[in-house]
């Protein structure tokens, strides 16, 4: 009941600024870039569904599923935009608990695919496979933003960093147990970016970074063989052409094949591993070429610019940190995924936001962007 009352109060406070004034603060550019990137993702899903052999589309084709997920994502975007983001700050801890519950559920009943065989990353519900680790990325942005916003008065204290790490560890360990190295890295990158942007002590952050570097040999010894192999392969791709290095070789070959203008949608012919997900950039580069790839990269740049602009204009540290967290997460994923396909970083299972086929990723991004738009709408003072 108290929640209901609180909602009424807040709605009352917000009501005078409803209408055109609120929509003046809506960042249409941000949504536009997101939609354009999603359209590229749909194009890739179409290419992967139809292929050069023109397989007929069915209800289970990635393309049809992607359209469905895009519609769901649009609904989620609308709902989260309408939802007052300040509620999220109070809901952060319940969300954190739910998040951990979902990750445990994934470990218990999840199924997996891929090279490790033992992986359990997907929860199949009513015919839909959902990856809760994608949702975890967004939830953890909200949780860290709430935590750091609450600590603005003592942000320079090393306890801020230690507290953030204590919050990080449970979901991080659960994700690693799946095992999902990619998502665990995204979580680390996100918390690092948020600590930096929240104004945490650079001295203590630097100290922590040094400690992590010192711990590398220990972590290396604990890594799964395939994870070690991937790192080693990055250092010397020629050494293992059939397996991990073969993926990189094929991916680079696909990017080579694209040339300036690409082969055209569905005309890609270089065999790529997991071409609908982790290596989708290879398909995109081969079919749409340098021009198409640059369009997508520029769209990502613009999207990140708008995310940072939203953060900069925000009137509330929680809102700012949501924007910065989203930006960190997307930047990291874009850089690692695209860089992986082009041989700049090791092969890790990190999806390319908006482009990679996968409902969980798209819906989670929509929820995050909706929350950010919600901060725009509820900014007390317009920028202009």
């Amino acid at each position: 009941m108290s929640i209901l009352r609180g909602e009424t109060l807040r709605l009352r406070g917000w009501a005078p600024k409803a209408g055109w004034l609120a929509w003046r603060n809506y960042d249409f550019q941000l949504t536009t870039y997101a939609i354009l990137l999603t359209l590229f993702g749909l194009a890739m899903a179409y290419s992967n569904s139809v292929g050069s052999s023109h397989v007929p589309l069915t209800l289970s084709s990635p393309f049809v599923r992607s359209i469905m997920w895009a519609v769901i994502a649009a609904v989620v975007l609308g709902l989260t935009t309408a939802f007052d983001y300040r509620w999220l700050r109070s809901l952060a801890w319940p969300l954190y608990i739910i998040n951990i519950g979902l990750l445990i559920l994934t470990l218990r009943i999840g199924t997996g695919t891929g090279e490790a065989g033992a992986a359990s990353r997907w929860v199949v519900l009513g015919g839909f496979a959902f990856q809760f680790s994608e949702l975890a990325k967004i939830i953890m942005v909200v949780v860290f933003a709430a935590f750091l916003a609450d600590r603005q008065s003592k942000i320079k204290s090393p306890w801020t960093i230690i507290g953030a790490l204590v919050i990080l560890v449970p979901p991080w360990v659960l994700v690693l147990m799946q095992p999902d190295l990619g998502t665990s890295l995204v979580l680390v990158a996100t918390v690092t970016g948020l600590l930096f942007m929240s104004g945490a002590s650079l001295f203590w952050l630097g100290t922590l970074a040094a400690a992590v570097v010192a711990a590398v040999p220990f972590v290396w010894s604990k890594m799964a063989d395939y994870q070690q192999a991937r790192l080693l392969t990055l250092l010397n791709p020629g050494a293992d052409p059939q397996h991990a290095g073969y993926q990189i070789h094929q991916a680079e070959t696909a990017v080579n094949a694209g040339g300036i203008a690409g082969k055209g949608l569905t005309n890609g012919s270089v065999a790529l591993p997991v071409s609908t997900t982790d290596f989708v950039w290879g398909v995109l580069a081969e079919e749409l070429g340098f021009i198409g790839g640059m369009v997508v990269l520029i769209l990502f740049g613009l999207l990140l610019w708008r995310l940072l602009a939203c953060a900069w204009r925000s009137t509330d540290p929680f809102a700012m940190l949501i924007g910065c967290g989203m930006a960190t997460m997307i930047l990291f994923q874009v850089f690692v995924n695209v860089g992986m396909v082009m041989g700049l970083v090791p092969v890790t299972g990190i999806p390319l936001p908006f482009i990679t086929y996968g409902g969980a990723s798209l819906v989670s991004l929509a929820a995050g962007l909706g929350a950010l738009q919600s901060t725009n709408l509820r900014r007390e003072r317009p920028e202009w």
Binding site: A116, A118, N256, S269, A285, L304, C324, V334, G339, M342
Partner: protein, 668 residues
Amino acid sequence: MSAPVESYRSEPKNVYRFGVFVLAVAVGITALSTRMAYLQLVQGPAAYQAAGDTQETATQSTPSTRGLIFDATNHPLVTNVVDYSVTVTPSDLPLDQEPAVASRLGSVLNLDPIYIETTIDSTTGSLYVPVKIADGISAQVARFIQENSDVLPGVKVVVSSKREYLTKDLFSDVIGYEGQITASQYANWKDLGYSNTDIVGQAGLENQYEQLLRGQYGTQNVLLDAAAKPIPGLVNTTSSPVPGDSLTLNIDTYEQTIAQTALAWGIGASKVTKGVIIVENPQNGKILAMVSLPSYNDQLFSDGISDTAFQKLISDPDQPLLNKAIGAQYAPGSTFKLVTATAGLVAGPPLTAPPENQTVGSLSPSIDTTSTLLSQPFIQIGQYKYKEWNDKGWGPLNISQGLAYSSDTFFYQLALLVGLDKLTYWADQYGFGKSTGIDLPETATGIVPTNDWKQANHEDNMFTGEIMQAGIGQGYDASTPLQLLDAYCALANGGTVWQPQVVGSIKNGATGVVTNIQPVAMNRLKSQDGNPISPQVLTDLRLATRQVVTSRHTNNLVDLPIKVAGKTGTAEFGNPDKNNVLPYHEWFVGYVPANPYVDDFTKPDSQLAVLAFVYGANTQANVATEVVKYYLMMHYKLKGDPFNSHTEGYIPSWVTRTTNFYGLSAQD
């Protein structure tokens, strides 16, 4: 836009940190764009084309349906059946689940889980290559495994085709079996589209007609994923498989069965293990039956023979895997006297290296049907005595009598008279010492000893005694059973040595067109001056071989209602026993005229010739003759006692035998 505006800003933002973030975005996007430009604009599609022949696709073959084999009456002898095998791909089986999967699989397949785990762990190949766990499992088990694939990660059921040999050991020596392609076969056949993992014919017709039976494997290009495994659905068929040709034999199952029955009885009665029976049509060389005992069950190979079973087969002194009709050579004994007799009756060219007491330039000596030679207890050459087989002799004999009594001393003298060159010439004419050309993998070609042969093998010329032995099919002489039968077929058909044919017709696997195999003449007998052999010589010899039977040299064979001509052979070999008696093989090769009920051997019209050979028989009466008699009685469905009751005591099992074969009354 004044004082209250400032108050809304709850926190001052760190412009430097935002600046660093913006810089990070710029650096990140720039780095990616630069790399992109390098890969796509600097390297570009040229690099892709250079890498174009790397592993993105692979050519796979799709097996064709192997041709079937039918008997002469179109009953299938071999079919193809679906074979389910179980494989485990190690890379798809998590280590921590391996014991559980092995125990589940073990209970389904009735295998020891430890064996399954050991098999998986001890594989030395790539982790992506499936390891075969079990073969020939039932369709029911295969379905069960597939339905439970969620608890059996990495386990796959592979469906393939295998041979089902329907006649157990009856046709094994003819049909053969399949096995893993050998290194040399692969080297020879890889241009024909064979892969180094193919299963190919390794013996018999499966080997001889391998390429026809196989047809043409199809090829398809498959796109490979990162693990170099084909991606389902991305398959581009470049050529479809062409089914293999089917073979129809000249042998029918009934003839093969009665031949095997007769031979099995014969070797059982004489308490030995090895023997051969071959039936051939002298008019065209068609093989009507071919049995070599002991044999083996070729289905063992199709089912995947175990190492111990295979070792047992190849270390068996009776050589069950060897088709002794074409793969082993034995002294032909007195059956070889046909060659010596022919050499005697046909005039030869002027002599260049004459035997003793002949002058150079004179005609090579010959005899006629009225000439006689004196048979005697023995002929002494130096210190050696060359004995007559009955140690007495029969006085002067003409050639018909010589053959009828199978007089050794007659043929010793004849061999010396005609000389080694003429003797070996006629042996060659009849096809001894060389391939018969049969459409089976023939591994023995016999020996016709000449001076050259003896120089090559024993560094000396043939001694006089050895020439005498060569005249009666002893000493160095060696012949495969089929060579001997072919020679008598040439006698029976008036002078043509046909190429023996097991396969009668071939049905094209793609078009269904049936091609009948035409008989091929290996040789038409001609004398040394190049003229065809005189028909009269062969007529005289046919009548002489008939006299072998009518003289009761072959006991009661003459009492059959059908008329048989032929020649026995008893060939000593090996080491003498404690009574200084050598063990001996027994031969009989005979033929019947086109009308078997009319005693007319002047016409070369025989359509049935039979050879029986019993290894080391050592019986008093020639058991090979009895085998042929038994076969002929079953072939012509004759009533009566096939077991030669008047020879009771020679082979006791003949009289105790009670089994009833094919309507023949057993011992009364």
